[in-house]
């Protein structure tokens, strides 16, 4: 059966809000399965080259567990739900088909107490501060007292042999970056193995969602990962508006895509500069951080915020764009475009930069496909998937963004894709600003019924973001699961640094620039 067959089966079995056509993002279907089909879909999807988008757990009204997995392919998105019996706390793991599932399954065990059958059962998001038996997404009661001051023991994989030693780094890092722990096993300068230990910025986002009203959740979604605020809040609103069966005005959607591309450009500008700096080219950081500041100031003048944290709201956007604001943005973007073209030539012709970029942190297309590398990093390793092109929501259907693709998979390829995507964002934004449809920028949306289920999917600057919402009674959130592409990409960095030298790690890491907060939740 081709992958399309599963969509046919899903369409035939529309028996609840989580099966049949799912509201929110375009092309999403749901299927409620038993264990046998659960395994079969994973195996089949992996064999056909589909990707695992996210895996999370929920509970039905009676308190029985439900494990959900979202799979994506060019044909669409399939959300598979596996309901468990009331006391059942285990389910078949899918790590053998999708290696990226491993950490998601460990997180599900920590937060919901449902365990996968796969081998790695070490805690992931739960460090020593709350006890094993406490599952934040289940227990309604008060959490146990903090056990701060307890140093956790974590079973890192040890590398043996003559001259092998370990370098522990973090959680507090040497730069202005988020916390996480990296354990390098090295010989001399060469990295034999890297093991990541994340979860330090776990701050209870998924449980916090359950305490909020559906209409307020976009504010929290925007703060899942501050550099992807527009992408997460749009994904949230897309799911919610679908659940409410409301169509948002064209103007609002175009303004959202403007904000999303502004966010994409700002992040690429910041990172391209920082990548240059990590290769010893301080000029790059100075120049690109200047351009980023120029962009943020234009944001503030035209849209009222430097970072568009609360620009996307249910029903539309927080504010409208005036004609003067559009002109100002257009002028600013045009001057930034010229500057980027100048700087790109300098980056491309600089022998020292080329020497550091080319061949550093290689992820081959085969490895990328196997591990599910996604987003711009995936596109630098031959993984030609971009939600804006392959499963576009409005207005991307009309805007038709061009996809950037490389197969080198090294720092140089990731920098090239970032330059390409920055240029493409600029092109899209100029078009948006010139052709912005009229009408209202915001509207009122009705409160979805209890039990409504929705999926939002937006291609953020880092990669595809998925967000699932289940409505509770009285306009409350029963469950909300935000998924950042960093879940897929963090494990790939462990492979990308093998055989590189330790001093190249910051450079390789920055070329991906993955989210800690978006991953740790």
């Amino acid at each position: 059966m081709a992958l399309e067959g599963w969509f046919g089966r899903a369409a035939d079995r529309a028996e609840s809000t989580a099966s049949g056509p799912i509201r929110g993002a375009p092309g999403v279907f749901g299927l409620i399965v038993q264990e046998e089909e659960w395994r079969e879909i994973a195996e089949h999807w992996a064999a056909a080259g589909g990707r695992l988008s996210s895996l999370w757990a929920s509970r039905d009204a009676a308190g029985s567990g439900i494990v959900r997995a979202a799979y994506v392919a060019e044909a669409g998105t399939l959300v598979v739900s596996l309901p468990l019996r009331s006391e059942q706390d285990h389910y078949p793991g899918i790590e053998r088909w999708f290696s990226s599932a491993a950490r998601m399954q460990r997180a599900v065990a920590d937060l919901s107490g449902l365990r996968a059958s796969d081998a790695d059962t070490r805690p992931w998001l739960r460090h020593a501060v709350w006890p094993d038996g406490f599952h934040p997404l289940n227990n309604e009661g008060t959490p146990p007292a903090s056990s701060a001051g307890v140093m956790e023991e974590y079973a890192f994989v040890r590398v043996g042999g003559d001259g092998v030693h370990e370098i522990p780094v973090g959680p507090v890092h040497a730069g202005i970056i988020e916390p996480g722990h990296f354990r390098f096993s090295v010989v001399g300068e060469k990295v034999l193995r890297l093991e990541e230990r994340l979860g330090y910025v776990h701050k209870g986002i998924e449980r916090r969602f359950t305490e909020m009203a559906l209409c307020d959740g976009s504010r929290l979604a925007a703060r899942v990962s501050g550099d992807s605020a527009v992408a997460f809040s749009w994904a949230y609103c897309q799911a919610l508006e679908g659940m409410a069966e409301t169509r948002v005005s064209s103007r609002a959607l175009w303004l959202r895509s403007l904000a999303l591309e502004l966010e994409r450009l700002a992040n690429h500008l910041g990172d391209i500069g920082a990548i240059g700096n990590d290769a010893g080219f301080a000029f790059g950081l100075a120049q690109f951080s200047r351009l980023k500041e120029q962009l943020l100031r234009a944001n503030e003048q035209a849209l009222g915020q430097r970072y568009l944290m609360d620009f996307v709201v249910p029903g539309g956007t927080r504010c409208d764009l005036t004609l003067a604001g559009a002109d100002l943005l257009l002028d600013s973007l045009r001057s930034i475009r010229v500057e980027i073209e100048t700087l790109r030539k300098i980056y491309e012709e600089h022998a020292g930069l080329r020497d550091r970029f080319v061949g550093a942190g290689i992820v081959t297309p085969a490895l990328a496909a196997k591990m599910g590398l996604c987003g711009f990093a995936g596109r630098a390793s031959g993984q030609a998937f971009d939600l804006r092109c392959d499963l576009p929501c409005d207005p991307y259907r009309e805007l038709e963004p061009k996809k950037s693709l490389r197969s080198g998979g090294d720092v140089a390829a990731r920098v090239e894709v970032r330059f390409d995507e920055a240029a493409e964002s600029l092109r899209l934004m100029e078009r948006i600003l010139l052709q912005l449809p009229g009408g209202a920028h915001a509207g009122v949306i009705p409160i979805p019924d209890e039990g409504a289920f929705g999926i939002g999917m937006i291609e953020g600057w880092r990669g595809p973001i998925l967000l699932a919402i289940e409505a509770g009674a009285g306009g409350r959130i029963r469950r909300c699961h935000p998924h950042d592409p960093s879940w897929q990409n963090w494990p790939v960095i462990e492979h990308a640094v093998i055989d590189n030298i330790v001093p190249d790690f910051p450079l390789i890491n920055k070329s991906f620039n993955l989210s800690y907060s978006g991953h740790d939740l």
Partner: protein
């Protein structure tokens, strides 16, 4: 190389004047005039993300860009708390970071200052206190100045830093 030099020459120096000191941001009245005596204008900052969404970090980063040019004011970010005079702390403090933050504070030599950055650092923000979050930074370590905002702008952060090191206007530099 010529292109690089040409670009540097063409852009020139674009640094803007520093913001004013804001006494409204002051949390404690304990003046740190001793720090000024010891440090003069040179100040070393260690940034600690204790659980933020990364929004505040982006604006702290911006302080290093040529328009704010924080190093031009004699302030720089350092890689170890042992080299720092001031901790710039963001986030609600995640429980998983509580111990790391306390240790970073202990590793910073006295006398030291702490500036909490962002709504979450000031109050716990939208995340509040929970099984996973200790809430505001001052719930975990002593805080001298708290800068609200989500995220606060680079000028507001800079103003908070300058407020922390300058004591009262009478004793200021």
């Amino acid at each position: 190389m010529l292109k690089t030099l040409h670009q540097i020459g063409r852009i020139g120096i674009i640094t803007e004047p520093a913001p004013d000191i804001d006494d409204a941001l002051r949390v404690t009245d304990a003046l740190q005039s001793k720090i000024l005596e010891v440090l003069g204008r040179a100040l070393c900052i260690r940034a600690v993300d204790a659980g933020s969404c990364n929004g505040c970090e982006l604006e702290i980063h911006a302080l290093n860009n040529p328009l704010y040019n924080i190093e031009g004011l004699g302030i720089r970010f350092v890689a170890s708390p042992r080299h720092a005079d001031l901790l710039l702390v963001t986030g609600p403090v995640a429980k998983n970071m509580e111990l790391a933050l306390q240790r970073t504070y202990q590793a910073t030599p006295d006398p030291k200052l702490v500036v909490a950055v962002g709504d979450c650092g000031c109050t716990g923000g939208i995340f509040g206190e929970s099984y996973a979050s200790c809430g505001r930074v001052s719930n975990v370590i002593p805080v001298d100045v708290a800068v609200p905002g989500c995220p606060p702008s680079p000028r507001q952060i800079l103003s908070g830093i300058l407020t922390a090191i300058s004591g009262s206007p009478v004793n200021g530099p």
